[in-house]
Structure formats: structure tokens, C-alpha cells
Symmetry: C2
Subunit: 278 residues, 2 copies
């Protein structure tokens, strides 16, 4: 019996590895993690491709139901199980936690890696070795404006490093109002756009008085990396206030102050080709 | 006609994605980049799996022969071609250069992403978001000891970030002696072990007088990530002088000063399980 934790990569059903696909076909039950990222296709398309049922594991399931699933797995040594994760299995802490819990129950775990935005961001032409700490930008609200991600961007700029900026995803959230009333009513999913992210980045810079960015700060907006509709746009920070990247997921990069020659060439390339390339 | 640049991932032939595998099957010629990394299998096994010939593209080919290949591709709009890269296509600058050259010749390029050590290093349980700049450690010689990678490790430690340390690979190198004599005799391939890397790291710290590391510095050695024989070992820096990680490729991680609780748990886990896990 093996409990597979399988990365699905970034695009559609065919971005799973051959190894992962073969593993899935041996499994009794297949869980799909569905709240830290999204695929370009839905559960039904995955089911059709695998020829098997896929059980969606939302946030609630991952946080509170997972022990029950692992308990069942550990009691069924005859069968394989799979837990599918968009991107790479270890790119979210919650899946590392899953790995540890399974091991503790004596379950044989096998991890199958895949691309994640962490390495696929190289599609911009920026060298993946020159990225500093990754930051996540949360949706600001009127009352809650956590600027704490911003000094990390400044530190990266000070060290002449690029910053990968991950944008907030709100899936299966309950509004404060409904939460207070004990009503389990989910809000519509929300995915932060590069436009909102840039607004919040500029606001953070002003509020903290750091002056780390200006109109000459080079940036990349990327959307739907690995999807057929992938879009990569380069430009100066303030230009992104007006650039529409289309449907989710979006990510953003704030470039180091100096670009290497090939990085500069790629920046110019995507500045002149603001459309889908590959 | 499409020129595919396809990531093979980190393990064996079955780590290619289904999308990549399907693309390969449509190609007239398939080139395999074979000098920035290594796969767990050889060209013959790939050929058997694809049912097609695979042409090895060594350093010489990539640096000087590639223009001729692209020229041929651009003149043959009826057929698809593939260039296979271990890991992810954009994790080495030379492949970004290939991408740009192809585009300039008007060739339609399609990139198929995969896992690379940049994201798969999450297998240690360390959060991929908390890594600072990646460093590469070159083989020191008696005359040439470039310590320039070391201040980057210190900067990461100062910011409480992990450092991924990539270790030198020497494939198809010609010795200085033979180079001076104009003899094209290749040395045997050499792959740096974590033991050599740690020796050089300790030497660099001493020579630069930075005192950034000590006997309490937590580290991970990883070998053959994604292979069936993958090995992950955690321990304190100096312990790695005696830890044998086996065959290549090796990579190394110097942990941030403070670990998050799940990171600490994974550190303890691999400290107590110094053997192949998944």
C-alpha cells in the first residue's frame, strides 16, 4: 500500500507526470486538494482523463477531515491512495503537515514532484537563482492592511534580487457577518489581480515610507502560467495599474535593480510582445 | 511546426509530463541537453521509452552547434522538434538563450514545465518561500578559490532565510594542460559531493572571517532528489563532513537560524531517519 502525494503541475490534466498518471491508475481513492491553487480544468475533466472518481478535498477537509482519511488509509494496507496537489506537493506547508501525519501513522508515502510557480516563474527569463524571499500579498480590507510583506520586497531590492509576489486566493471563505451569526454561507471565490496587487504594493511603500520602488522599477505580470492561455507582460511598476491580465491565477515579479543581459533581453521581448507567446 | 523545450523533471524517463511525452512522440528530431544536470537513466533508456532516437546535445553542441540546429528547424515548417532539459526548461540561463534565439528565427516555441531542484527542495520540509538567493559552489583548485558565493549565504542567514546550495558539475571538461596543448581530451565527469561542499563552505567562512556558521547551524543534504534512491539527511553543518550521500547529484541546504514548527519537525524526522524515505 502506498499513499501517493502527487503534484499536478500548473496547466491542465496532461501536466501530471507519466509516473504520477500511472500511480493514479492504481489507486482506490483519489483526493484533489482544491483550495491553495487552481488548475486550468475542473474535477470532471480530471475524472474523465483518469477514468476514476476524484474526491474534492477543500479547506475544511484538509484542515479537519484529513485525519479520518489517513486513518482509513492506514487500515487498508491492500490498496493505494492518492492525494493530488496543484503545482508541487511540498510548495504549501499544509501538505508537508499531511506528509508528516501519514508517516506517523506508519503509512508508506511516495511523493511525485512537478512544476510549481516557484520554478516556472523562470518563464519570464529572469534567473531563478536570483530570486530572494517569496512574498504573499493578502487582500487589504478597510480595517486590515497588513504591510508586513513589503519590507521583504525592499530587502530583496537592496540585495539586487528579484521578488516573486504571490497573490491572495479566497476560496470557500465565510464573511465576518455570517461567521458571527454562525451561518456557513460561502462567499464567491476571489482571486487577486496584478492590478490590485500593484495598488496595494504602492500603498504599502507610501505608508511605510520606504521609497523602495519608483516609476523605473521593472516588473513582470504573469497569468495562467503553464495554461494554453498563459500571458506574460513586462513593464514598469505603475504601468501595471492599467494592464489587464485576464482570468486567474495571476502572479507578479518585482525585478532586481540590475538585470543581466539575457534578463534584459527577455524584459524587452515581453514588453514588445504583450500577448500570449507559448 | 513547433519547437518544444521540454522539462524532464528530476528522476527517470517517467518523470516527463503526459503533455511532454505526447509532444515528443510527434517530433522528427529529439535533442537531449546533457551537461547542466543528469537524469537517473541514460539516453538508451529514454530512446526505448520514446520509441525514437535521441540526440545528445553536450556543452559544445549547446554553445556552438545550436544555431545550426535552429536554422534547420526554421527551414522545416512541416515537422516538430524537441529539446529536452533535465529539470525545468528555464532553470538554466543557456536555455533562456535558446528560447530567444529560436523566437528570433521566427520559430514557434512551446515550453513544457517540470519540477526542478529549485522547487523540489521542498522535499526537505523547509518552506520554499523562505529561501533566499540560491548559490553555486564551484570546485576549488590550489590556485583558484572563489569565495564569492559565501557572502550570499551570510546575507540569507542574516535575513533568517534558507540557502539552497547547488554543487559543481564538471562534464566534458578539458584540463588546463591539455587545453594549452590544444588537445581535445575530456576529463572524467566529476560531481561535487556534499562533503567537499561543506569543506569549502567552512574554508570560505574562515578565510573571509565572517563567522556566519557554527556547530549549531542546521543543514540538509539531499541526493538524487526524485530518483528511487533519493536520500535526505538533516544534521548540523560539521556532521556533514562525515556523511556519505552516495552517487550524484547532491545538493545542500543551510537552514535559516530559526525554523518554523513544521520545519523543525521535518528536521528532527530526517535526523532520526537517515535512510531513503520516499
Amino acid at each position: 500500500m502506498v499513499f501517493f502525494i502527487i503534484g499536478l503541475g500548473l496547466g491542465d490534466h496532461r501536466d501530471i507526470t507519466v509516473k504520477g498518471f500511472e500511480a493514479v491508475k492504481t489507486c482506490k481513492e483519489i483526493y484533489l486538494e482544491s483550495y491553495t491553487s487552481i488548475l486550468g480544468i475542473n474535477k470532471l475533466q480530471l475524472q474523465e482523463f483518469y477514468g476514476k472518481e476524484v474526491i474534492e478535498a477543500d479547506r475544511e477537509c484538509c484542515e479537519t477531515g484529513i485525519d479520518q482519511i489517513l486513518e482509513n488509509v492506514s487500515k487498508d494496507p491492500q490498496n493505494n491512495y492518492a492525494f493530488l496537489v496543484v503545482g508541487d506537493p511540498f510548495c504549501a506547508t499544509t501538505h508537508t503537515d499531511l506528509f508528516l501525519r501519514a508517516i506517523k501513522l506508519g503509512i508508506k508515502v511516495e511523493v511525485i514532484h512537478n512544476a510549481s510557480i516557484i520554478n516556472a516563474i523562470g518563464c519570464t527569463g529572469l534567473q531563478v537563482y536570483r530570486f530572494g524571499e517569496t512574498v504573499s500579498v493578502p487582500f487589504f480590507t478597510e480595517k486590515w492592511k497588513p504591510y508586513s510583506f513589503y519590507p521583504k520586497i525592499k530587502a530583496n531590492l537592496d540585495h539586487n534580487l528579484h521578488t516573486l509576489v504571490l497573490l491572495d486566493i479566497k476560496v470557500k471563505e465565510i464573511s465576518e457577518e455570517n461567521l458571527a451569526r454562525g451561518k456557513k454561507i460561502y462567499e464567491a471565490p476571489r482571486f487577486m489581480s496584478t492590478q490590485i496587487a500593484v495598488e496595494q504594493i504602492i500603498e504599502s511603500d507610501k505608508q511605510l515610507g520606504l521609497n523602495a520602488i519608483d516609476e523605473k522599477t521593472k516588473c513582470f505580470g504573469v497569468a495562467r502560467v503553464g495554461f494554453e492561455t498563459q500571458k506574460i507582460v513586462s513593464g514598469f511598476l505603475h504601468e501595471f495599474l492599467d494592464i489587464e491580465m485576464g482570468p486567474p491565477l495571476h502572479s507578479f515579479v518585482i525585478c532586481a535593480k540590475e538585470l543581466h543581459p539575457i534578463e534584459e533581453e527577455m524584459f524587452q521581448f515581453y514588453r514588445n510582445n504583450q500577448q500570449k507567446i507559448d
